[in-house]
């Protein structure tokens, strides 16, 4: 039925499955596949293949990383100062991957807002995949968690109630921030989606809310009274915005 269109090539079929096909061509390929069941079956078999690969190998990415692969161990070598600096950069990248910040030179000031957000996204990506140990202190100890993080961080760390957004507090942990400690809180929704709130000291007194995105995750960040907030979550920007708004409102009310 669509034979008047340009015929679909083998390369295009692969590009279609791999999400590399230009958007304007998708409909053509889909129509063509509908008219060519053998080819559609072949495309489907590639999808099944991808599922098999993930079913076989994803569990390895979920295992705890063996001690000998921990960067802290690997970096404990001569020329400490160099490794220290290199490792710090690498840890930031490796933890989360491509937060889209480049040329973070060893000499550059460490606490610009961008680095800060990248740190938060890295922490987000590092911990949201954790099944058994996502947090140090569980959400059932909310008061203790808040008191502990407040004491260690030096500003009021407050775990907002996000149940109106369908999120439950999983718990939190203390992290090294760009200039001192950072607090990290994790929330979880009904279908397992996780959101995290990262706060750390920042030079920016107060800023507007801004959005940053990596390939999978998004983050909204702002500063208020010298404390930077980064709310990170999955790709759904609208939901993320609602969550961040709730965090912002409660933090305001709480006077933190």
């Amino acid at each position: 039925m669509n034979d008047r269109k340009i015929p679909v090539t083998e390369d295009e079929l692969h590009a279609y499955v791999d999400g590399e096909l230009p958007a304007e061509r998708r409909a053509d390929v889909e129509a063509w596949l509908a008219a060519h069941p053998d080819e559609a079956e072949r495309v489907q078999s590639w999808r099944a293949m991808a599922e098999m690969l993930h079913a076989r190998y994803d569990s390895i990415a979920q295992e705890p990383v063996p001690a000998r692969l921990e960067l802290e161990r690997l970096e404990r070598r001569p020329r400490q100062w160099l490794y220290g600096a290199a490792a710090a950069v690498l840890v930031a990248f490796v933890a989360g991957g491509t937060a889209g910040w480049v040329a973070h030179g060893a000499a550059s000031a460490p606490s610009t807002f961008q680095n800060f957000t990248a740190d938060a996204l890295d922490a987000h990506r590092l911990y949201v995949v954790e099944v058994r140990h996502p947090v140090e202190v569980g959400g059932n100890e909310r008061d203790h968690l808040q008191a502990w993080l407040t004491r260690r961080c030096g500003w009021t760390v407050f775990a907002p109630n996000l149940e109106a957004s369908g999120l439950k507090l999983v718990g939190g942990r203390l992290l090294p921030g760009p200039s001192g400690p950072a607090s990290f809180l994790m929330y979880e929704g009904a279908s397992g989606e996780r959101y995290t709130i990262y706060t750390a000291k920042t030079e920016n007194g107060a800023t507007q809310m801004r959005y940053a995105k990596t390939d999978k995750d998004g983050a909204l960040f702002w500063a208020e009274r010298g404390v930077g907030y980064v709310v990170s979550g999955g790709g759904d920007r609208d939901r993320l915005t609602k969550v961040a708004q709730a965090v912002y409102d409660q933090a305001e009310k709480n006077g933190t």
């Binding site: 991808a50 390895i60 990383v65 490796v94």
Partner: protein, 152 residues
């Protein structure tokens, strides 16, 4: 990132110890390298190091005797396990470059551009490797278990 590197290394080598050795060497190499300070895409870069180190590893491996698995796999194993073995065997029949492309695209979710950079070849080469790898694995899976073809 390290978990994903381990997953890729395991699928590439199909050997747990060799895979973690590879990841360790990759990280040590990365920590030592000055390129870190120039920024750029660290993810692609780590995969590039790992891919290259694996080439060296295979070269030295080729001079050693091959060890084969003695026990035949349990044919009554559950469906997922059996599928896991099938895909593992199918991967083993691919030449290294094709296996690497297949895994980077299908398992690690990399773009063709990233894979081209990692392998140091044009995108066209990546696409033809991918097409051949898919055809090969499909044939191998169907030969292995003719009943496996799923229609969804």
């Amino acid at each position: 990132m390290i978990p994903a590197l381990r997953r890729y290394a395991r699928a590439l080598t199909r050997d747990a110890d060799a895979a973690d050795d590879l990841v360790q060497d990759t990280l040590v190499r990365a920590l030592r390298s000055e390129r870190l300070f120039l920024g750029g895409d660290v993810r692609s870069w780590l995969y590039t190091i790992l891919t290259n180190l694996n080439k060296n590893r295979r070269r030295s491996l080729a001079r050693r005797p091959q060890f084969m698995q003695l026990t035949e796999n349990n044919p009554d194993a559950s469906g997922t396990e059996a599928e896991g073995r099938d895909i593992e065997r199918a991967l083993a029949t691919l030449v290294e470059e094709q296996r690497s492309v297949l895994l980077l695209v299908m398992l690690e979710g990399m773009s063709y551009r990233e894979v081209a950079d990692i392998q140091g070849v044009p995108i066209g080469t990546v696409m033809s490797r991918l097409a051949r790898a898919r055809a090969h694995v499909k044939a191998s899976l169907e030969g292995e278990r003719p009943t496996l073809r799923r229609v969804k």
